[in-house]
C-alpha cells in the first residue's frame, strides 16, 4: 500500500515538474531563504512593492516568450526599451517645450512615437528571421547593436529630460482605485496574451511553428507570417514596458535595458518555456518574472551586493536551462528506444 502512495506522490511531483518546470521548487526555496535572511521581506508593503517592480520584466518576458516558443529568441529587447524610451522622451520633450499647454497631446504623440520606434526594431527582427532566414541569434544581436548605437547617437548618451510631470504622475506612479496603473496595464496585457496563446489559432500556430515548423506548414500554417508576428508583438509589448520605465524614471534613457535580455530569457526558462520551442504558458512566465524580481529584491534586503547578484542571476539561468534539458529528455524519453 505504502509503495503505491509513494509512487503516486512521486508521479504527481514528476507531472508537476513536467508541466511547470523548476519554478515552484525555486519559489519555495527563495521565499524561505529570504524570509530567514531579512525580516522585512515578507511584509505586505514589500510584497506589493515587488509586484510593482515586476511589471517591466513581466511585459518584456511575455514578449520574449513569443520568440522562444517559435524556437528563436530576442536578444534585442534591451535595445527596444532604449529606443522606445529615448524616442518617446525626445518627441514629448520637444512638443512640450513648443507648447506647454498641450500636455496630453505631447504625451500621447510621444508614446505612439516610442511604440512605433520599438515596433520598427521588431519588424526588422521578424523580416530578418522569417523572410531572409537569418538565425534569430545573429539577427537580434545585430539589431541590438544597431538600435543601441542609434539611441546613443540620438542622445549622446545623456538622459533626455524636460518631460511633462503628468507622465510620471499617471504611467509612473498613478493609481486607479488604489491600484498602480502599471499593474493594471500589465494585467490587461497579460490577460490578452493568455487569450492569444490559449484561445486563438494564431497563438497555437506560434507554438506549432516552434514545435515543428515543417509539420506546421503542412498543416496549413503560414510559418513566415507567424514568425514575423512573434517578433513584432515581442517588440510592441517591450515598447510598452519602455514607456512605463520612462515614466518611472522621468527621463529618456538609453541605458535602461542592459540586462533585460538575460533576465527575460531567465524568467521564461524558469517559467517552463522550452528553449527548443513549442512549449510555453503565460501564467508561468508571469510567475517566472516575479520570481526573478523577488530574488533581486530579497538579495537587496539581505544586503547582497550587486556584483554578487549578477553571479546569482547567471547561475539561476544555467540551472534553469539544465533543468529544461532534463525535462525535455523526460518528455521525449517516454517513447523508449
Amino acid at each position: 500500500m505504502t509503495e503505491v502512495t509513494e509512487g503516486n506522490s512521486h508521479n504527481i511531483l514528476k507531472k508537476l515538474f513536467l508541466r511547470m518546470g523548476v519554478l515552484p521548487v525555486l519559489l519555495v526555496i527563495a521565499l524561505i531563504v529570504f524570509s530567514l535572511m531579512s525580516n522585512q521581506f515578507l511584509k505586505v508593503d514589500n510584497l506589493v512593492n515587488m509586484v510593482r517592480q515586476s511589471v517591466y520584466l513581466i511585459l518584456v518576458s511575455l514578449g520574449q516568450m513569443l520568440a522562444l516558443v517559435t524556437g528563436g529568441f530576442d536578444l534585442s529587447v534591451g535595445t527596444i526599451l532604449a529606443v522606445t524610451s529615448v524616442t518617446s522622451a525626445m518627441v514629448m520633450a520637444h512638443l512640450f517645450a513648443g507648447d506647454p499647454n498641450a500636455i496630453w497631446f505631447a504625451i500621447t504623440v510621444g508614446c505612439l512615437a516610442g511604440v512605433l520606434a520599438g515596433g520598427v526594431v521588431g519588424i526588422a527582427n521578424g523580416v530578418g528571421v522569417a523572410y531572409l532566414g537569418v538565425s534569430p541569434f545573429i539577427m537580434t544581436i545585430g539589431t541590438q547593436s544597431v538600435g543601441f548605437g542609434i539611441a546613443l547617437l540620438m542622445t549622446g548618451g545623456v538622459p533626455v529630460s524636460g518631460l511633462p510631470g503628468e507622465l510620471s504622475e499617471t504611467l509612473g506612479f498613478g493609481r486607479i482605485l488604489g491600484i498602480p496603473i502599471p499593474i493594471i496595464l500589465t494585467a490587461i496585457i497579460a490577460i490578452g496574451f493568455y487569450i492569444l496563446m490559449t484561445r486563438t489559432a494564431r497563438g497555437n500556430y506560434l507554438l506549432a511553428v516552434g514545435g515543428n515548423a515543417k509539420a506546421a506548414a503542412l498543416s496549413g500554417v503560414n510559418v513566415r507570417t507567424t514568425l514575423l508576428l512573434a517578433y513584432v508583438l515581442c517588440a510592441l509589448v517591450t515598447a510598452v514596458s519602455g514607456l512605463l520605465l520612462t515614466a518611472r524614471v522621468e527621463s529618456g534613457e538609453s541605458n535602461i535595458g542592459g540586462t533585460m535580455a538575460l533576465e527575460s530569457i531567465a524568467a521564461c526558462v524558469i517559467g517552463g518555456v522550452s528553449l527548443r520551442g513549442g512549449i510555453g504558458r503565460v501564467e508561468n512566465v508571469v510567475l517566472g518574472a516575479i520570481f526573478i524580481v523577488l530574488v533581486q529584491n530579497g538579495m537587496n534586503l539581505s544586503e547582497v551586493g550587486s556584483y554578487a547578484q549578477m553571479v546569482v542571476l547567471g547561475i539561476l539561468l544555467i540551472v534553469a536551462v539544465i533543468t529544461d534539458q532534463i525535462r525535455h529528455r523526460m518528455i521525449a524519453g517516454g517513447s523508449g528506444i
Partner: protein, 500 residues
Amino acid sequence: MPELVETVALSKHYPGVKALDGVDFKLAAGEVHVLFGENGAGKSTLITLLAGANQPTSGQIIIEGREVTLHSVLDARRHGVSAVFQEFSLIPTLTVAENLFLGDEAGRHGFINRRALTTRARELLADLQFDLDPARRVSTLTRAEQQMVEIAKGFRSKLRVLILDEPTASLTDRETERLFTLIGRLKAEGAGIIYITHRMQEIARIGDRVTVLRDGRKIGTVDARTTSEDQLIEMMTGRTISEIYPKIASNPGDVLLEVEGLRSSAGVHDASITVRRGEIVGLAGLVGSGKSELMRAVFGIDRIVAGTVRFKGQDVTHASPDEMLKRGLFYLPPDRKAEGLVLPFTARSNIALPALRAKLKGMFGLISAGKHATLTRDAAQHVELADRNVGRSVAVLSGGNQQKVLFAKGLGINADLYVLDEPTVGVDVGTRSALYALIKRLCEGGAGVVLVSSDLPEVLHLSHRVYVTRRGSIAGERHGTDINEAALLGLFFDRERAAA
C-alpha cells in the same frame, strides 16, 4: 560441416522492449539467406549484433564453430563479417578512396600514403566493376553511387560473411544486376550472404533460404524457391492476406484531381495523373523515382515549374499547402516525426491544428473549447486512438499511435482527397489493418485516395488503379486485374540496357 555463422538463443532487450528474443539462426557457406519481416520485427537488430555494431543481452554468436564476442564493427570485420547498412556510414566531405579505407589507411607513423590509397581504391573498384572515380568527393555522388561505395567498403578485406540491408532500394536495374553477379561470385567462393529485402521478386531470384522474424522472434526458416509470396506474408504478419487487406469497393465518381504535364523543382517532369472520388489510386516506383515528389508538388511543397494542377475543376497550380488544405486536399507526409507531428504537443492539439481556423472558431473569432473537444474526440475515435492517449504528448506515443494521430488530422478537416505518403511505414500489423480499414471507409464514403507507397503488397492489394513513376515521370498505368507484381516491377526499371 560447421555453419559459417550460427546464433543460439540470441536476444537483445531494451527497457520494456524485446527487440530480439531467443533467435536461433544459421548461415551456411555459399548461401544467400534472406531475412524477412516487418519494420521492427528484429531484422536490423539481428544484423547489428552480427556486425558487431551492437552487443546482445544474452545468447551466443558462433562463427565457424567458435563462440565469439564482437565488441565493434572492426572486431566483426576481423572475423570476416562485413555489413552494408541502409543508413550509409560515409563521410560526405571525404573522397571515395578516403571513405573506402577509413580506419584502415595505408601509411606509416600516422601519415597517409595518398598514392597507395588511390591505387588500392582503384583496384578494389575495378575488381567490383564499379564505375567510380576514387578521387571524387562522396557528397557529389548520387545515392546509388554512394550505395556502391558502401558495398565496396564491405569488400575491402577478405570476406566470409556479407550482410546487405535492402541494398537495391536505390539502385537502378543495371546496378542491381551487377550486384547480383557479385553476390553469385561470392557464393561460388564459399562466402555466406545475409540479405534483407522486402521484394518478393528478389527473394525468388537470389535467395536460398528465408528466415522470417516477427516481434523479435523467429517464426521459421523456409526454402526460398518453394515458398509462395502469400505464405511469406502470412508468416511475416501472423495473419492471412484477407485479414490484413480489406476488400475495397471501387466506385469512381467525379474527377477530383487532374495533373497535366507537371514539372517541379524536385525533378518531376511530364507527369499527368487523374484521380476520381471513390477510388484508390496507387503511386508506386523506386525511392527517388518521383512518386512522392509528384504529390508534394501538387500539395504546394515543391515549386511547380510547368504544367497545371486542377482540383475539383479549379486551377490550383501554384497554391500553397495552406490553400490546398482549405480546398479539401489533405497530405499525409511520409516522415511523421520530421514533417507530420508537432512533438511537444498533445495528440489532441496535433489533431486540431489543421482545423483551427476553418472549423473551430466560436465567439469573437476565438477557438471554441466545445468544438475543439468534439472534433478531436470524434477524429480520435475514428482512428481507434485510445482516450488515454488523446491528452498525451505525441512524443511518448508508439509509432502506430503517432500514425493514427496523423490520420486523425486529416479526418478532422473532412477532406475530399487524401494523399497518403507511406501511410503504414513502421507500424505494427494491428495498426496497419486498422489504418487499411480506415482507408476503405474514406474511399467508400466518397473521398478520393492517393496511396504513395514503397510497400508493394500494400499498393497491389489496395489500389484500384496504379501509376508507376520512373525517373521523375509516369512510366505507366495499370487497372484492376492488370495490377500485379510482375507488371508493376516491369515498369519500375529502365530498359536502358536494351537501348545501350
